[in-house]
């Protein structure tokens, strides 16, 4: 099932210098350097985009749908992620950005922020059920969900089993357009405008047994200049309340946004995949049982820090907060939300444990392999230098046990071996014997 391992995050080999920066930051140790180029281990990659951010040569990038792909549909719906509103700066209001999308060529704009608020309401319902496992972990960030599938399978049952705002927006907008304007479903193309690589993967290779409601994912990086161009050319524009969303929905783009909706209850908002890792470790140890809700976003500052965003996330945050303040003042413009029954938004199936980190299906063999890994690691210098192409000495030991590498990939081991061969050659030369004893 090749599609199972589709990844948005990919390497441009021509730019890669094999420098080892990315291998060290990958949260699932999914990258190795082989023959001087980075290689992503498909099963381990969660599309978090840390490597995209860290690569000094910009060799890592995210594959998204080209802007032209919207032309494949006669009726085009845009789903802008709220991150988009923070990209442009003062003077470029939400209303202007949403209008610019229509001028660009979209027939309909359904704000993902609006769907986010629907998801928030559904979540409140969900959390009031006392049978759910706490802490509840938000499932909005696909990189975090995949991280849990691979590294924290015991937390799968803690995941919030409600569809993400993107999927809800796609389903609702299709329905609205079909009902209001009578457009047949096959002619409708729904496009998410995204700061996020993991969202691309979640559309093209969704979780088990699912089909995404979204047709394509466009990168904010690609559409930024065309939209800016349109807005600069048009000057001032009268703002019509264009199915505008509320403050909570827009704040989902920032860390703390989603969880701020739950005023009662103990909630944590974590951002940055390594911080998420630390918090999930605490959850697995049972130290977070008094926490009700964990909002976990893989990118620094939340979606604003996504690899496909244009603006610096701290600046984008200021822009977004400005927009949110305006919403709070102009509450009159907000459109009343359709109340959605939480059952309609709930996951129909769960996500599965992906045991790619397993050493062996047979536990005894797996224990032996773990033993081997410990032994081999002890034989290494412990510098985690990355010269072998693996992120750490222990990772190389694991690769060796999995038969994906050999001991002499370690240059220190290789040097030892070469020295020993040189010594032996020297022996032959001086004493005519290969025995160290004959001196």
């Amino acid at each position: 099932m090749e599609q199972y391992y589709f990844h948005s995050v990919t390497l441009d080999k021509s730019k890669c210098k094999g420098c080892t920066n990315c291998i060290k930051y990958c949260p699932t140790e999914a990258i190795r350097v082989r023959n001087g180029k980075a290689v992503i281990i498909n099963e381990r990659c969660i599309d978090c985009g840390v490597c995209i951010r860290i690569c000094p040569y910009h060799a890592k990038k995210a594959v998204t749908d080209p802007l032209d792909s919207i032309k494949n549909y006669s009726y085009k719906i845009a789903l802008p992620a709220p991150t988009l509103y923070g990209q442009f700066g003062p003077g470029y209001s939400r209303e202007r950005i949403v209008s610019a999308l229509k001028l660009y060529g979209f027939d309909y704009v359904f704000e993902v922020a609006r769907a986010a608020e629907i998801v928030t309401n559904a979540t409140k319902c969900y959390m009031s059920n006392k049978d759910i496992k706490k802490p509840v972990i938000s499932s909005a960030c696909p990189a975090v969900v995949r991280f849990i599938q691979i590294r924290f399978p015991n937390l799968i049952e803690n995941l919030l089993r409600i569809e993400s705002p993107m999927e809800v927006a796609a389903a609702l907008s299709r329905q609205e357009v079909n009902e209001k304007y009578g457009i047949p479903m096959e002619k409708i193309g729904v496009f998410f405008i995204s700061p996020c690589a993991a969202k691309v993967t979640s559309v093209k290779a969704p979780y088990e047994n699912r089909v995404s409601n979204v047709d394509g994912v466009l990168s904010i990086k690609d559409i930024f200049l065309p939209l800016l161009d349109i807005m600069m050319k048009q000057g001032k524009v009268t703002s019509e309340p264009f199915s505008l969303s509320s403050a909570i929905g827009v704040s989902w783009a920032m860390t703390g946004g989603e969880s701020s909706a739950f005023k009662d209850g103990r909630r944590i908002a974590v951002h940055g995949i390594h911080n998420v890792n630390d918090i999930l470790e605490e959850a697995v140890k049972g130290n977070l049982d008094s926490i009700d809700f964990i909002e976990a976003l893989a990118c620094p500052e939340g979606c604003l820090g996504g690899p496909l965003a244009v603006e610096n996330p701290f600046i984008a945050k200021v822009n977004l907060i400005n927009e949110i303040e305006k919403i709070k003042v102009n509450q009159a413009h907000s459109v009343p939300q359709k109340h959605k029954d939480v059952k309609e938004l709930e996951w129909k199936s769960t996500v599965e444990y992906r045991p790619i980190m397993k050493l062996d299906d047979d536990m005894m063999k797996a224990l032996e392999k773990m033993n081997m890994i410990d032994k081999i690691t002890e034989g290494f210098p412990g510098l985690d230098c990355g010269a072998c192409g693996a992120p750490s000495c222990r990772a190389l030991a694991e690769d060796i046990v999995r038969e994906n590498a050999k001991e002499t990939d370690c240059i220190f081991k290789l040097r030892e071996k070469v020295n020993s061969i040189a010594h032996q050659l020297n022996q032959i030369d001086s004493t005519g014997s290969m025995n160290d004893d004959d001196q």
Partner: protein, 108 residues
């Protein structure tokens, strides 16, 4: 492996080790793992436990002051061990040392 099994095994083994160090002047640990369970045997050649039933009571401790000053000797060790293991078997006699056998099953 469910994380709570790892946690329970670690706690039970730790308590047994600390007891061997505090009371038994050190000892030996032997661990056997198979696909169903882990069996930990910790034995020492120390003074032995005079009254096992009393020792199992929470809060009861024979630890000297020097140990209590370090923060140990709260008297919870044996009961913690019992709580966190599936089978706990203690063989002990005065002046003959103590052997603790802890079994934790992987599946319920």
């Amino acid at each position: 492996m469910a994380p709570d099994i790892v946690k329970r095994t670690s706690i039970a083994m730790y308590e047994a080790e600390i007891n061997a160090v505090i009371h038994g002047n050190g000892g030996q640990a032997h661990v056997e793992i198979d696909e169903n369970k882990i069996v930990i045997t910790i034995s020492d050649q120390g003074p032995g436990i005079e009254d096992l039933e009393l020792a199992m009571q929470e809060g009861y401790s024979t630890a000297p002051d020097s140990i209590r000053e370090m923060g140990f000797g709260a008297g919870m060790g044996l009961s913690n061990m019992k709580k966190n293991s599936d089978i706990l078997d203690i063989k002990t006699a005065v002046n003959e040392g103590t052997t603790v056998n802890i079994t934790v099953f992987f599946k319920k």
